[in-house]
Subunit: 493 residues, 4 copies
């Protein structure tokens, strides 16, 4: 059992650094700060030089947290030596992806030398590309989209690595943020729609790239700017000297952006700056909008207590409570759920008699706060609904007067093809109950349930441009061509 | 390095259950809920019966979290079989205590059969007792006080185990909560001054004992009452049948109580009920009192932002912010620090150049919340001050207008002999600076610093009786005889 | 399943060193050389000095081979620092003894300081002593006899450790070789009947004690002499200076010796010198005597091929083959069985269909050597007979003309109370078939089977004194009082 | 430090089975029997079927012994389900090859489905092929030759897998034994010169392929025949039904064979049958030839004692001793060295003062056997000479009269390009001393040293055809084109 509360699952966090004497140590700190984007496995590739000045790539990957896989400082200091490195955090979900060899970065040797790559996202034409490549004689060692990109680069007839990469990126569709390490450069690229965040930083003379800016803060690096949608940047020794990053467009003119709104709702850390804004601020606005459109009052005029599901909805709940108060409602933010942070990778399950133990292992209720009171639970999303239901049962043990549930995103009805992992459509509670919020309310056994509508949600994040967000998982309107019947398992090895 | 933010260290959590078919599984859940009381090591002893009806004790102990040591359900189901069990979480601090053999419960065989014991607390006359015992030929395998209790029981000439235990407890002084498992009983005892909490619960027909009531909540057990200071209770098959717990006084009349106030300030989980009250409520009152006596206002009339050091001071900060608002100060609770929960047992350290990395690995700041603002950081205590200082430096990176620090306990000036582990007096910042708050403020580089005074603190918890608390670590007034020169290392093996 | 070929099991190997700058490293080598005496667990205790010149004991114990438990040179260099150390290899057999806490050396603190002890052997009056001690209030943490010795020492009213130890040893009966480390001495003692071997060595200025002399050879230490039966020797700083070992009698006059003849037959390494003679020479003589009294000839005058069960009967088979040749029989030593040395602690078992896989995992036959030939398998002992039977089946796969089995010891009919671990009497094939060799032959499905008789065996080792050996497991004649009904499980915790 | 006595290193053992209900369990046993061919890492790929009858490949690989990597029977029963499987044992030597991803079998997905491959040997035109492939856009994830073969297969335009494989094999040169598992077949192939052994077996209805026949014996499978040099065999469901293996030639007519003579001298297990003969018999003949051409007699007419370096030269020494006796020399086989089998993957090294500890950890001398005697040490080869020299020093501790060394192979002067791993030429003692045996003798400090000459060696194995062996490492006459300047490190990733 995965003890993560029933939430959408992001695929990964990526990091790269060029030109720092402790490149792998800095990558280690960066990956640690990005740990929330993937906890199952991680890896670092560093580039050092042999006696003869020939580039040599070093790799260490493994299952577990960054602090577990790189538990030994020797690994970082001697094994992963060199002044440039890239790293990756991964969140495995399917059986196939649990294979060790799906752990990134991938590292290969091809016509123009060594190349290591780390990828966050999901391609939508991977199947076609893969079939084409396979017909041309390519061999695949994983089911990962990333390997498709590697083949495209390697098969390019062009003689310049940057040109090869641009050529390859022009063939792929979907969501990608990439960091690539070659014998003499660090390259970062972001898809033209900008689904996932990617930022550029600076530490002394070195340049850094990371999924979120919190990876810069941990090492007191300066945040320079985001990689633009459709932009490819190159860091090499010249850049280190000049201090001027090389940049080029992947393909022609910028298209309209389609950021994943879930980065604001749930994925990113509140202290990160993505899509032009502080996550913290946007998340608070989602809470405020939720309060404006879906407030809770007590029929008897009693005070309303707002509680978050820690830690992911803390900021949203803060905004919600504040807005209620502002509207003159007698409301208060309270700490009604305590989250245990001592849960390891496995936890022993009880038999039938004690069904709520799963959620109790993760959360404890503060009875004194809840008893006899009208409670608003603010959460960011509902996927299967099973854990939410258990959580509501748990809260009922404190005998609250009423439990109202407010969700800072719309109902999730459709699969994501851009790097989030939901269960199958059939398992999505909103889908299986045809988006009938009343029915979901009944299933969850709450006194009332409200979601943000798509419009309300976009209103809340409108400072970043309402039209700049992908809403596919709520609306079914995919911004790129997707094959709705596609299943990764189809070419599972 | 220990990545726990620089706080007092509690010694342990204990749990016992008698008469449940899945005794060790329930103990596992109980210990998980008590994990915050000790994360270094844990153990469970269960009692099963051999073919011939002879009691057999089973044991499993190890270093690590409950979910790590008991990762395998086979351990709980088959190895730790039986309908009664006790368990222990331990927080190791000194070199000696890191030895595997100091992991509790201890299990021995003596004249009246098998006996397993788990202990939370610290004896103040252990040295004298140990010397006496050693002179009589006792051998010691650990440096633990608990072994002294075992010897006292085993050497008793009395022929009834309960009488033996009472006799032994009458010889020891200091702080103890004990659970003892024998061939046919579960015994729990709490010292006459009631330093540490201990509660009794009920699950179906079985009875439970735990350091905090949160260990009952996780398994939906009913909280019956606390074990009284100076009370010894017995659970055996008769008790299971009758439903009436056997209870007796350890020694004569109840003395005045001396609860450890740090259980309210920091140790216990907010969702627990101890010393007659909800921790959550008391912790909030400490925050409110702190706000009443030591408010923060901005000289320019700007809004004041209250932030907690998560997670331990969340509730206190909530109370502080609320009270400021109530007093008409333009104040707001904010989330300005994010805590990482992905830190393993070890974390690789950088060199000199990046001194704040230690605190940055654990905390990240939310810049947008802090920049240009007047910040009040509410924390529960300061021990060495080194981490607080680093944390302040970290907050400064966001360029706040001012940083005010408010502490919901008085300055810690003296060692604790009742189960908390501080560094040596010399390392206590308040002691080394002679309790000069101005000097501490300068060291921490904050704009202002205020502690609760002892009286203010007692006022905040006065609902539980001002006189019912030990204040020794603040005042130096020890409620029992203590040997101020005593060092555990003196008889370290 | 234990993949050791079905043999008697020795309990342990012990080692001690006093006055060497790398005491624990030398102990490590010594224990490695003694690994054949116990592979389940091992431990080392070293004595270093604190700043104040106070002795400090360091300990590291664990399950596994010496090279596994002490895999890290840091353990030996820094953790186990000091110029004196003792160590122990253990062979666990029963469920109880599998508990980690039964791993030796044991280390305690008592009236006269620290004391660590490692023990090879088995006491015959442990039950009475334990009961006495328990009645006096002693607590037992293990089921080990060794803990009895510790209590006896600690309870002595005498004020000199040597006197205390002598007093304790005068109370115990049975088999023991002990090394004891105190704050200022290394003490070694051997029981008056000299059941198990114990030798003294010298390396530069330091003195060593070990179960077998092979532990000296590995470190190029000089073998001085054996510890005499009933002798206690002391090494302290004076001894280091003077070069003269202090020695005293444990109790009065030397009794007649009762060496365990299985040390010659099977336990000790052939390159060791024990009981006054080279093991290798005695083992060869057992083979020669076996050939003289139980030769094999082929009825058709064909050549006879002698094969050993590697590695334990290699030397015996060499002696057997040589003697046959000497007698004019056309015989040849051959390598007909190859032993795998790549077997880890566990090996996956097949289902019913392939019963011989257990023995095949360990042994492979060299078909070309066996096919159509008359084979004599020389083995040192038969315990349960199950593995021998499987081995014979395995050999039959090569279609030999005939398989004759010759055993260089008499049938094992009785339990050992002096430190060997057999299965229960009922499981001993010789006992369950009433010593009927014809019936054993039929069970094993060999063409002929012969054991050495007790007299023949004693004749073979007569150079060391026929009367100097214990023959209890063959004859049932125990040289000390034993309680035939005693079972260790009786006071199992 | 590698504690293997200084010997040539073979690369691998391979195994495959088709049509057995417990395919992975049988592969496990097979790999265990082949463990001597590689102890660093191992892996198994099995083929099962999904619900829809689609083939699914399962994989488990890891560092360590077969019994360690597959310690859990669950892995074999559930993870590695299916009725067909292949496996591989690997001996890593260089830094690069230590990477986890070099562990075989390799498993890929390509145009015609899944394909897993395990390879024993070394290609001599891998560099050219790799460069060609890379120029065509292939990406390489390892430095292994085996990946070259995979690319050649995948790039074939042919539409039949067997044809693709044949096409690929016609492009490669050098030494290879391959097992390949596809969605519906097991394929085995052996290079036209037959450098390495490969055999076919049968177990019930299933067919097996293994590097050596000892892998059949362990599971009581029948040995059918060897795979011929230049033969490719196919096992599929038709073969299972018909019982008739499909076979075809890889390329035209059989060439002359070039078996690796070191398989007889040292690599293969004595109980295997390879190159048409029992290894045991051929190894004995090498010993006899050595005795005939390079006997040892004592100048004073004393008896000569022949000892082997266990276990690898046991059989050779037996042949040597026998032949001496046959020639009327007073000679005797003796056990003068005992080998420890308790050495783990690492062993702690001492400082300068005790240089022989390395060899002493592995070997102990039986002094009584050696003292004052004329000794002939029979060994199979000398590579660097450093360990031999240490071994001689060790033997000198027993004060023998003389030590004569006899080697059952010629001096190793040249690198092997067909799957053996020697150190660099400069480190080969025979090369660095220009093949001057007198100089080697002086370095090793033996009284005399003799090797078999190439002719004598071929004479000893002549029953298998003198001209059928490769002698390149002795003579420098390579049977295929080789690039003497080639270094694998050249394209190390």
């Amino acid at each position: 059992m995965n003890y993560e509360y029933d939430k959408p699952i992001s695929y990964c966090g990526i990091f790269g650094i060029y030109g720092h004497p402790c490149a792998s140590l800095q990558t280690y700190y960066g990956l640690h700060a990005l740990q929330h984007r993937g906890q199952e496995a991680c890896g670092i590739v560093s580039r050092s030089f042999n006696g003869g000045g020939r580039a040599h790539f070093n790799i260490l990957k493994g299952e577990g947290l960054v602090s577990e896989v790189f538990a030994d400082s020797e690994s970082l200091n001697s094994l992963l030596s060199g002044n440039s490195a890239i790293g990756h955090n991964r969140y495995s979900t399917t059986g196939a992806s649990k294979s060790r060899k799906n752990i990134q970065p991938f590292m290969v040797n091809y016509r123009l030398g060594n190349l290591a790559i780390a990828h966050n996202g999901n391609l939508t034409n991977a199947k076609e590309l893969r079939e084409e490549l396979v017909n041309e004689g390519a061999i695949f060692q994983t089911t990962s989209d990333t390997e498709v990109i590697l083949h495209l680069i390697a098969r390019s007839k062009l003689d310049n690595q940057i040109d090869q990469i641009i050529e390859a990126l022009n063939k792929i569709q979907g969501a990608y943020c990439l960091v690539i390490l070659t014998d003499n450069k660090l390259i970062a690229a972001r898809d033209p729609l900008g689904f996932r965040p990617l930022a550029i930083g600076k530490l002394d003379n070195s340049f850094l790239v990371a999924s979120e800016t919190c990876a810069f803060d941990i090492q007191s690096a300066e945040f320079l700017r985001e990689v633009e949608p459709g932009e490819l940047i190159v860091i090499d020794d010249e850049v280190i000297k000049s201090g001027k990053i090389k940049s080029q467009r992947i393909n022609g003119n910028p298209e309209s952006k389609k950021h994943c709104v879930f980065e604001y709702i749930y994925f990113s850390r509140p202290d990160s700056f993505i899509f032009g804004h502080n996550v913290d601020k946007m998340r608070r606005r989602l809470g405020k909008e939720l309060a404006r459109k879906h407030p809770v009052t007590d029929p008897d005029g009693d005070r309303v207590y707002v509680i978050s599901v820690p830690d992911s909805s803390n900021t949203t709940a803060l905004g919600y409570a504040r807005e209620l108060e502002k509207q003159g409602i007698d409301a208060r933010l309270e700490i009604g759920l305590i989250r245990s942070h001592y849960i390891g990778r496995t936890f022993i399950q009880p038999g039938q008699s004690n069904r709520e133990i799963g959620v109790k292992i993760k959360f404890n209720i503060v009875k004194g706060v809840l008893e006899g009171r009208t409670i608003v639970v603010v959460d960011d999303s509902i996927v299967r609904g099973t854990t939410s239901r258990q959580l509501v049962h748990l809260l009922r043990e404190a005998n609250p007067k009423a439990i109202h549930l407010r969700i800072s995103s719309p109902p999730i009805m459709h699969p994501c093809f851009y790097g989030m992992d939901f269960p199958s459509k059939e398992e999505l509670i909103a889908h299986s109950l045809n988006g009938n919020i009343e029915a979901i309310k009944d299933y969850l056994e709450v006194d009332s349930l409200e979601y943000l509508t798509i419009d309300e949600m976009l209103e809340a994040v409108s400072e970043a441009g309402k039209e700049n967000f992908c809403t596919a998982c709520f609306s079914g309107l995919y911004p790129t061509n997707v094959d709705l019947n596609f299943k990764k398992e189809m070419y599972e090895i």
